[in-house]
Symmetry: C2
Subunit: 239 residues, 2 copies
DNA sequence: TCAAAAGTGTTGCTAATACACCCATGC
DNA sequence: GCATGGGTGTATTAGCAACACTTTTGA
């Protein structure tokens, strides 16, 4: 930040990469795009793109999110910065520093191919391997980050539509963490946290499920979870 | 990452900013440098600098750390990436994207001024306000990140010399979190976590303290803390 | 002998896990 | 009826906060 000269250093390109996560049929999915050109032509990759001259990485990520998903209003969706990736060889063409974001979507719209006519597709998280560049690592980091945030923040509601049941909320945790949770205990912990969820006044849901209609909730005003929702229903904790 | 043209976009400068944290006399301190030139000439700032063409942000951060502290061997020190900062106006000169790191130092050496002859100084965390650029925010984010990592990882030993007492380790937590902890309970939790600390075979310490000599420990092989060391001796965090 | 810091023991409360059980709906 | 998912109740248990107490040093 001192002794600088605008032209003394090779210019860097700065991009954003997005791990757009959602739940489809109770399983974690990620939005992938098929690359149309070299390098890695034909391979799947995380969506992303260059920063425009007058936008921040967050703004670029939100713009890309709208472009890739085709969603009209993308302003309320949660974007979580994961970290920056800056290894010199990560893009064979030039020096690219990438800021990765995790985006959380409640309803999974069918993706429309981006402006560059490459295909876009929701892919189960487990099958999203062999991605272009270092996107395998970025995706794993994004999932780990989101999983950690679920423990201590109210982030889980970002995966849910405006009104949701506690069963749906529980599925968020189970899908991202990959562990089953005890329903009665989950319910108590969520309801015991003030401001996490609020019951919607006169609602109960019916049509979808085969069982008893579930009560509907909305996201509450809280952002932090005190105490945290621990990840361990079955884990080796002998001590 | 698609449809790119090396010259289609304004070039970005990429820098690293370092929040170098240490404990002096039981209080959290941060390394600041006085800026010698505009903008913000005469103001204090976090140390940092540009990425060289063939180094990653982590490598640049470690190099800067060595340059600013004057430490000969900087390879074992802990560097924690905080996040990237990319708002268009954050540097008035040009578009600068900065990757922030928190560095944790056990022994606080007197800093030597950097190559650019500006002054460098350890500053108590509370007095490190009014910094140049957006460094107030970066520093706060770095401290929050380190505090959160103390809960769930064995990071605290990075603040300690190779051999340390449990009292010193406790001071790390108390200084970063800003809360006093109960010594007996802290001791039990640390020792109950396998691999967090290991007693050094035949050691006890004497000269420094006025009380009973404390046993010496070293960092163990564990990196994660299960269960986490909770931050709350008596705390009610309402939303 | 006192102060200061390390270390041990104990107690009592809180909270969470692991269930059993009831409810309401679709088929 | 019965399968399925929602929701409530509860007992045992484990963990932990709080505090009393002992130990070992320097002054």
């Amino acid at each position: 930040m001192r002794g600088y000269d605008k032209h003394a250093y090779e210019p860097f390109a700065v991009t954003v990469d997005l791990a757009v996560l959602t739940l489809r049929a109770g399983a974690l999915h990620v939005l992938l795009v098929e690359r149309g050109q070299e390098p890695y032509a034909g391979r799947w990759a995380l969506p992303g793109g260059f920063l425009l001259p007058e936008e921040s990485a967050e703004e670029a990520a939100r713009r890309e999110l709208g472009e890739e998903t085709g969603l009209a209003d993308v302003s309320g969706l949660h974007l979580e910065q994961v970290r920056a990736y800056s290894e010199p060889g990560r893009d064979p063409r030039m020096r690219v520093v990438s800021v990765a974001f995790a985006a959380l979507l409640p309803d999974p719209p069918e993706p429309r191919p981006g402006t560059d006519a490459a295909e876009a597709r929701w892919t189960p998280y487990e099958r999203a391997t062999g991605l272009a560049f270092d996107h395998d690592r970025i995706l794993a980091n994004a999932r780990a980050r989101v999983g950690a945030r679920l423990e201590s923040t109210c982030l889980a509601t970002a995966f849910c539509p405006p009104e949701f049941t506690l069963g749906e909320l529980q599925q968020v945790y189970e899908s991202v963490w990959g562990t089953p949770l005890d329903r009665p205990n989950f319910r108590r912990k969520v309801l015991a946290t003030p401001g996490f969820v609020e019951p919607v006044p006169g609602g109960a849901r019916l049509t979808g499920g085969r069982g008893k209609p579930a009560a509907l909730y909305r996201a509450g005003p809280a952002t932090a979870l005190h105490p945290p929702l621990p990840r361990t229903p079955r884990e080796g904790h002998p001590a």
